[in-house]
Symmetry: C2
Subunit: 320 residues, 2 copies
């Protein structure tokens, strides 16, 4: 464990690099590979039935015994109580919460010795999370994939603002994919980083092969933040996304958009590989990804790039 | 002049810091103060009649003799030919072009010994500008104020992509306001930076006092990119911006939006201080600005912050 970095000391990793917990894309194989390489692997519980999550937790524990790992729980998930009970019972050391009020579960988790990190997209919510007693926040910028904030604040603007406002450590997310961007985020005040899209583009991600290929094929302007009046989400442009954009432009009501979205589209797109009608969530940085890379190689490369480019100028933040 | 930095060596400054040329906000007082402090001051010609621009150029030359300065010319400006003739005649050493095809004027300017920098918001346009022979590009992210790209690519995603694609130097813009963000941009591959909003919040900016106060009062989510189907522009939310947002949401046509925008709104808002009906253009980073700072103090503080935080780890990019 790296004790000079506050996030590493808190969560127990060697490297201040976190793989985002993502619906349909981050199961036990990805989380284990990442944690095994010295970073932090995270299961995305938002797409798992309670029974599936239990099974996935057991598999990570077996694959990388003694290594830290986490579960990401969107707090609006219907079976959140069952998830939290499994997490406590099975000894998960860290929970990332998102999309909900951090006050509701933080004490429960802390009483069971579990660290809590909350994902935010604004200073306002970062301060609420800090007040709720969470151990750290992820400050996630507009360029990130999936669900996002209404303020549309980018990583470049969000990270310094949240770092200035909070005493607890800040983990940057959104638009990060290589050593340069990791160090840039740390220069802005982050003490660790969370990468999502880059980890979708690994063989270990549970995303469908066809979705991964679509991610690698993405270029400039291939994603945009849509459904801003309901729940803002960054989508990869496909037939479904174009239907959403068109509906919005012709003044569709929230109800009409809900109806268009329907149910199960994210699974259909990202897990089952329906690139036409499925919902495909990925970050802007997909434009820079052009090949799959095994997760452990990726973690080692990121660390090496940081060591080469960084060093003393970052005030010891990346000395390892 | 700093010869170890490619942008400084090209344009002749001591510091790789550029004040953006902005309509209604950057006249001779601001440009002179910035150039006088060792950075690069830029006149925003997009809001000037030909006669006004000539007068402004003469005033900068008189205020900071021998110092480099530039003029920003939006290439769609109606009187672009008169502007270019004045620039050549009066010996302006550098032109920043934007909003148009860089191929049209680059040879004309180069034949007269004038350096050309083109502002882009995508890799595609950066490569077109490089092919057109410009000397450097400004890669401006989604978070920047004023007119912007349709791809909505943020500074964090845009700067590494443009840096990888281009051989000519890349100047980062969008979301930059302090030493941390300048160094972050350089870590991403930029060799210099351009700051806009931060320089609006100076006593020397020609913006109306009421607009400056509105900029300082801006918070998270106070700006957004609007009129995406016409010409995307980041607006500070006021009555006018809310009318635009409402019109878009109820499916207004491009023609209806043009009609709503009308003429002269930018002048009315930023120069005349009509905070209700005027068009107010500013970047997301306005949320972090809380006081006016004299431009020369600002330049010195930015340089000092970079020296303190940066150094050898940036590969000599910020050694001065």
């Amino acid at each position: 464990m790296n004790r000079t970095n506050r996030v590493c000391a808190l969560l127990g990793m060697d490297l201040p690099i976190i793989q985002a917990g993502m619906v349909w894309c981050s199961g036990w194989e990805l989380a284990s590979a990442v944690s095994g390489a010295g970073a932090l692997g995270v299961l995305g519980a938002g797409s798992m039935y309670p029974k599936v999550l239990r099974d996935q937790i057991e598999k990570v524990k077996k694959a990388v015994p003694g290594k830290p790992f986490a579960v990401n729980v969107p707090l609006l998930y219907p079976a959140v109580e069952e998830h939290m009970a499994s997490i406590a019972e099975l000894g998960v050391p860290i929970v990332f919460t998102s999309a909900g009020n951090p006050r509701v579960w933080t004490s429960y988790l802390h009483e069971r010795g579990i660290k809590v990190v909350h994902v935010v997209s604004s200073v306002k919510f970062a301060l609420k999370a800090q007040d709720a007693g969470v151990d750290a926040v992820v400050a996630e910028g507009f360029e990130a994939g999936g669900h996002n904030g209404r303020e549309e604040t980018t990583t470049m603007c969000l990270v310094p603002a949240v770092s200035d406002a909070c005493d607890i450590p800040v983990i940057a997310a959104g638009g990060l994919h290589d050593g340069r961007s990791i160090l840039a985020a740390m220069m802005l005040g982050a003490e660790a980083v969370q990468l999502g899209s880059r980890f979708v583009a690994t063989p270990e991600s549970s995303a469908h092969r066809a979705f991964k290929e679509a991610v690698l094929a993405a270029g400039e302007g291939s994603t945009s933040l849509e459904m801003k009046n309901i729940t803002p989400v960054r989508l990869l442009h496909n037939d479904f996304a174009r239907q959403v954009i068109q509906a919005q432009q012709s003044g569709a009501t929230d109800e009409e958009l809900h109806l268009l979205l329907g149910r199960g589209r994210a699974k259909r797109g990202m897990f089952e590989g329906d690139l036409t009608e499925g919902e495909l969530e990925i970050g802007q940085i997909s434009a820079m990804l052009d090949s799959l890379e095994p997760a452990s190689d990726l973690v080692r490369r990121l660390a090496e790039e940081c060591r080469t480019l960084g060093g003393p100028a970052l005030g010891g933040r990346f000395d390892f």
